[in-house]
Symmetry: C3
Subunit: 342 residues, 3 copies
């Protein structure tokens, strides 16, 4: 009887299956401190209990991306251990903020499968939900990955492709209960620019950069209990450990403070692509483009839809070449909604 | 008057002496988070307050090896500053779990001395106890080290060799008060294998590996306030900083989740050898052998005796060569008892 | 409308201006654990809640240098983003200890300006104060930096040079409320040497050393939300990332435990120079010189004035060459007051 987990293969996923992921995790002040140690995170709502209380919350929540990484990390042994590629995200929603002391667990429902024409791999779509200790959904998102078949003779399943929103509408977004920007202190937040100051189409160069070290991305990725071998084991991939895509997301988001200090809370994830792999030694920089703006039903709380791009070459404003493919200097193209004082 | 500690030499240890080690330490959520950041630790009882509460505990204790490392670290300035080699461990017992907010301190009693025939070094045996703020013993273990003589003319002391158990019996082990596996959730724990599923002699390849970085082992070793120069100072040992043996123990134990996810709590340490030195750049993998099984006096709680082997070459199941010496790819050979749902 | 902060230039500072720095920060057990992971910090008052309670405090405060780094870090975007050099410190005082859960913010008042004769740069003097959530001043210090002019045609301001104390007197120092060393446990603290055992002029070699890694100094510097590009971005400074001077201060102070274990609390900063730049790969060692001693108005609590020198070459007792310049092996020359049991 083999005791170790060899992961699921494409033929092991059936539409409708719910996978309950293992190893719940209590997150607390230690995770908050480490997040600030690993990323240049400065959004005030996640840095200061006092600032968050002034915004109507019960102290400072853990960064929205801590919640995302912890929930995501739990899915790796069940969803992406035999994955060839992480293809996309959609319909990501942050529903309830995560506070120090909360315990998170994850579940994923298989919502689509499609075997590739080569007969060796297929695409699996899952909707993952993260829950806290009260069984409240704290966030959910759809993710699709290309997975190897374990048995090449397994018959191709009937293709099921989920109908996914290209973009969440502002009605889909959840403004955390009690949130108010009525007493928002722009001076303490770090910038004067409010929702009304951003124009659709505007491109913001976030200027700062961080050269990534092996120890840092491994410390981060382990903290989320992400077990994918490629991030840790140099013998598995001698050309270099592949950096967890979520590390690049967090790095870019933190860098985006410089120009988007008031884009406080991430509430929606419309889509995202890890355009090129990232390795240690890369200097990650970031730029953003304002894709849309909308008012929420909470007075004073605006939603801003942003494209967040991480680069390895410091380029700004360039995304794809004439062939429609991402340029080699683009690491990440993320489409998300954030909340900002109007 | 010299102000710095030059450490004790062999002739400074007298059988019966009790050394009270300095610098008590409060450990809390920060240490827990760092442990998860430094090692791929996933045992659910140490990851989730809710899971631990379902097992009858007052929330999730700090990892048993955090307790060990903190207690051990305090002994270094008094026991191993002039040590040539760490020779062995015996009779290690975890008595009371350590919770966030506890303050730990250590004491060691000298229980044996034996000068080596070369007249330059000797072996010192100490029994170390760690205490919490209530003066409860949280763990204890025997360790013996080879220490240099400071004064080569000091007479050899009468040799005293302690009578140490080769293996703790199940009666020696302490099952934490209140522990129950009656409502144990194997799905959340990550594996279905229970005590009854393991056979004596069974070998488990834990599959995963981590390539160690300098920053990581130093961060870990400092966190335990271990002051041994060889771990930090490259000028002291230009061929490379020697990685603290406890870092390899924690790494291997964390990797052993994959196949031993339900070996939740470490309660006994029968012995251990740091078979070969470990340096940054090494990819640590691990395998385990089931050495014994026993039922505790708590219904549903089984004890499993495991050999945990860390390797630098990915080998599995091989320990010693024909000459009886550890193979060069073996880093650690640890013999311990863990608790598992029956 | 540009959204990113390009920093202030020399001509932007007016004597009397008060700059309210952004991004308040709640510090807690996570920051404490990380401090111990990044520096070999062992002073018992900051390591153990029980030890600190025995000294009359409400549990263990966060290290005085955590408070300093957090307060300092907030000033970087407003004070030193366009700085050419960090020239000096004076009149630093720790007023109220910082405890886990406190939220810190900073303000700086411009107290001096002087344009340099080259017309391209000038020196700016600021007095920075850190506040907690109750608006108590937790610490304050004066710092002066050389800053580039943004507009070379801007007229030189009237030179204002603040009148700064060369050395704080013991009356300037604040002994934290309730502090007592009446029940001080020298055994647990780690050394027997008390205030009376140190002589003015005495030099102490702290013996231990740490070879610094890139990941470590970046993790530390980010933790304090220090945003200076030179510490993080290798493309900005291809010859190597410059290590934040405060990282060297904390490293040297932690190493000084060995010989100054009872110099528990830092209460005054008389001056300091980052004598030479520090890069990863450097093995930092430290030595101290006793510059002065004084009794405070709290019985049993002595003040000791120390010169703390960090080196890159392991030299001890040598500071400047015949030309009056710091020797190349000197990284830091810090002049501070600490409290010690009499």
């Amino acid at each position: 009887m083999t005791k170790t987990n060899s992961g699921r293969f494409f033929e092991d996923y059936k539409v409708g299956d719910v996978i309950r992921h293992a190893v719940p995790r209590t997150v607390a002040e230690g995770e908050r401190a480490l997040y600030h140690a690993l990323y240049p995170a400065r959004h005030a709502l996640y840095s200061s209990d006092a600032f968050a209380a002034d915004c109507g919350l019960d102290g400072s929540p853990l960064d929205d991306l801590i919640a995302f990484h912890v929930v995501f990390g739990k899915t790796v042994p069940d969803v992406s251990l035999n994955a060839v590629a992480n293809l996309g995200y959609a319909e990501g929603r942050w529903v309830v903020p995560v506070y120090p002391g909360d315990t998170l667990r994850s579940e994923s429902q298989v919502i689509g499968v499609k075997e590739n024409s080569n007969g060796k791999t297929g695409v699996v779509y899952v909707r993952t939900r993260g829950f806290n200790q009260n069984d409240d959904v704290v966030l959910e998102y759809v993710r699709w990955v290309m997975v190897r078949k374990g048995n090449l003779d397994a018959p191709a399943p009937e293709a099921v492709l989920p109908d996914l929103k290209k973009v969440l509408s502002v009605e889909d977004l959840v403004v955390p209960e009690g949130l108010t920007f009525d007493d928002y202190d722009f001076g303490l937040a770090g910038e004067e620019h409010r929702w009304g100051d951003y124009e659709i189409g505007e491109v913001i160069d976030h200027v700062d950069g961080v050269t990534i070290e092996e120890a840092e991305h491994m410390i981060a990725t382990r903290l989320w209990q992400n077990t994918a071998k490629v991030h840790f084991d140099l013998t598995f991939r001698p050309e270099g450990r592949l950096i967890y895509g979520g590390h690049v997301i967090s790095m870019a988001r933190a860098l985006s403070f410089n120009g988007l200090a008031n884009a406080q809370m991430i509430v929606g994830l419309n889509g995202g692509a890890h355009a090129n792999p990232c390795f240690a030694g890369t200097t990650v920089k970031a730029w953003s483009e304002v894709l849309d703006k909308a008012e929420t039903d909470v007075p004073g709380v605006g939603a801003i839809r942003l494209r967040l791009v991480a680069t390895s070459d410091g380029s700004v404003g360039q995304l794809k070449g004439e062939d429609g493919k991402y340029l080699p200097g683009v690491l990440l193209d993320l489409d998300y909604w954030a909340l900002m004082p109007i």
